[in-house]
């Protein structure tokens, strides 16, 4: 299994406890126009040395894949004089654009809420920063936070898989997680965090990176629309005039 760790993995950890070694099946995903989603597999090995204490509880694994942070305005519609109007709004600063959690079991059985919260494991633990609001205890922030997670889940960008991590071949130290990258996943730098727990205690943590890049004609159009806006606009107008002229030539009846 050490071979798997060879290409993309990183080795870290303290001398006395377990160490984690992880590897991703790919370090970069190229998204083109026909991209309909892809599975990235994470492999991991739990390594013990002679000094490691033997444990009488099973190992549990949590894998968090996070997309690049985004600032988002969240709006709520309310009924004003018969009509549904965007009225209340909140701004979230640097919310994860993508968040996928894969675990080897139910979160409640893996660790305690304070430890999960500290490491931002699970939707309830993500530390959303609402501009001008204090956070957890604010009822408005809680309401908007629940709606945000629901919208992201519906868009397929937030997910929790309680059985997403499995130990390979009956072992208790080699595991894998299959993470689904949907077609609408935003491009940029993703981080993979792997947490090792036993008996509710966090034993080791390891991090990896995954890059999602959009390529092809569509990406070229997107980047020119943003980087050369005036030229792009001119191209649109010329294309329209040309199409109109061509139609006139083809279908001319006079």
């Amino acid at each position: 299994m050490a071979i798997l760790a060879g290409v993309f993995g990183l080795v870290a950890g303290s001398a006395a406890a377990e160490t984690l070694t992880i590897a991703l099946s790919t370090a970069e995903i190229k998204v083109n126009s026909t991209f309909s989603g892809e599975t990235v597999t994470l492999f991991g090995v739990i390594e013990r040395d002679a000094a490691t204490v033997s444990r009488n509880t099973d190992y549990e694994i949590a894998v968090v894949l996070r997309g690049p942070p985004q600032d988002v305005i969240e709006r709520r519609k309310d009924r004003i004089a018969m009509v549904w109007v965007n009225s209340a709004s909140e701004t979230i600063v640097a919310a994860p654009s993508f968040y996928a959690l894969d675990t080897s079991g139910e979160l409640a059985e893996i660790s305690t809420p304070p430890i999960l919260a500290r490491n931002e494991i699970g939707f309830d633990s993500i530390d959303f920063q609402y501009k001008g609001r204090d956070g957890a205890d604010d009822p408005v922030a809680t309401e908007f936070r629940d709606a945000f997670v629901r919208l992201k889940k519906n868009a397929g960008l937030y997910s929790e898989q309680p059985a997403g991590v499995s130990f390979i071949g009956g072992t208790d130290d080699v595991f894998q997680a299959a993470m689904w990258i949907p077609a609408n996943a935003p491009d940029g730098e993703y981080t993979v965090e792997v947490f090792l727990f036993s008996g509710n205690a966090l034993l080791a943590r390891e991090e990896g990176r995954l890059h999602i890049t959009k390529v092809g004609f569509e990406q070229l159009m997107y980047s020119s629309a943003h980087n050369h806006a005036l030229l792009y606009g001119l191209a649109c107008v010329l294309l329209a005039l040309f199409t109109g002229w061509l139609a006139g030539v083809i279908f001319r009846r006079d």
């Binding site: 600032d71 305005i73 969240e74 709006r75 549904w84 997107y222 806006a229 294309l239 329209a240 109109g244």
Partner: protein, 309 residues
């Protein structure tokens, strides 16, 4: 066949979009209207973000109007001086329309204002058209001749100051209504994703008494100019023109229009106008329903930094 729209940021079935472009093109050929006021709502109802729909339809209108404008140009059926005044004031109106568009977008109220404008305009114009066409249908059934329009008579518009002479139209009228008309059409066009021909043509005929032989060509020139400017400004200020979506709509539109023109020649005018009126009213009612029914999801997200949702 799914195709990814780079600016809208979503995948759509290419044939459905092509079909929409074709259907609206067919109707625009049939009724002799630009079709923006039908195409923009259709795109919005099918899930394309309103900002992208409006900006993209502006470029589609350039394509569909320019081919007709060219044929009027060849036949010299355009009042260039009138078109120039309309175009200049239209450019100012378009600029202001795009500024208001972006301001509303930042406030998160663009969708609301668009819906309210569509309900108002389509409701008003649909009702007027329906009333007029039903009246003329009743008249023709009873064998009465249609009442003659007093086209030669002057109205209050002709008593305004700052008169200008438009030789081709044989007109000597105040510049105020011409500038106001150009400005208003440019403003609404940029804001709502419509060419505005269905307002401009009747206004030129009934308000300014522009002769019918130059009215269509002149208004087409104005629409091509203001919609070109609108496309440029939307692309420059908000990056919402989707060139892939635009191309599919343009091709579908110009082909559909050809069939529409042919079918239109075999249907009676008043029946045609009644049909169009019903269609316009239906789109207006659809917007009204969207405004007053409780939404499935009350919350929405707008990303400020870092790409699409």
């Amino acid at each position: 066949m799914l195709i990814y729209l780079p600016i809208a940021g979503l995948s759509v079935n290419m044939f459905i979009i092509f079909g929409m472009g074709g259907a609206v093109g067919f109707l625009s050929g049939l009724f002799g209207v630009g079709g923006g006021f039908l195409l923009t709502p259709l795109l919005i109802f099918s899930g394309i973000p309103p900002v992208v729909s409006i900006a993209t339809v502006a470029s589609q209108i350039v394509a569909s109007s320019s081919s007709a404008a060219l044929s009027y140009w060849r036949r010299r059926m355009i009042d260039m001086k009138l078109a120039l005044v309309l175009m200049l004031s239209g450019a100012v109106g378009t600029l202001l329309g795009v500024v208001v568009f972006n301001a509303l977008r930042q406030l998160g109220q663009l969708d609301l204002i668009i819906s309210i404008c569509y309900v108002t305009f389509l409701g008003l114009i649909g009702t007027l058209m329906l009333r007029e066409s039903v009246r003329s249908m009743i008249n023709s059934r009873k064998g009465r001749p249609a009442p003659l329009r007093r086209a030669a008579q002057h109205n209050w518009v002709h008593r305004l100051p700052f008169k200008m002479r438009f030789k081709r139209s044989k007109l000597y009228v105040s510049a105020i209504p011409v500038v106001a008309l150009g400005f208003g059409i440019g403003f609404l066009g940029a804001l709502l994703g419509i060419g505005g021909g269905f307002i401009l043509v009747p206004a030129l005929i009934y308000l300014l008494r522009v002769p019918t032989n130059v009215v269509i060509g002149t208004s087409l020139i104005q629409i091509v100019a203001t919609m070109s400017i609108a496309t440029m400004l939307h692309a420059y200020s908000s990056q919402t023109v989707d060139i892939v979506l635009a191309l599919i709509l343009m091709v579908g539109g110009v082909i559909g229009a050809q069939f529409g023109v042919r079918v239109g020649q075999n249907i009676r005018g008043d029946q045609l106008r009644a049909l169009l009126a019903l269609l316009v009213l239906a789109v207006g009612i659809r917007f009204l329903i969207g405004l007053v029914t409780p939404p499935d999801e009350r919350y929405s997200l707008t990303i400020l930094t870092g790409g699409a949702l």
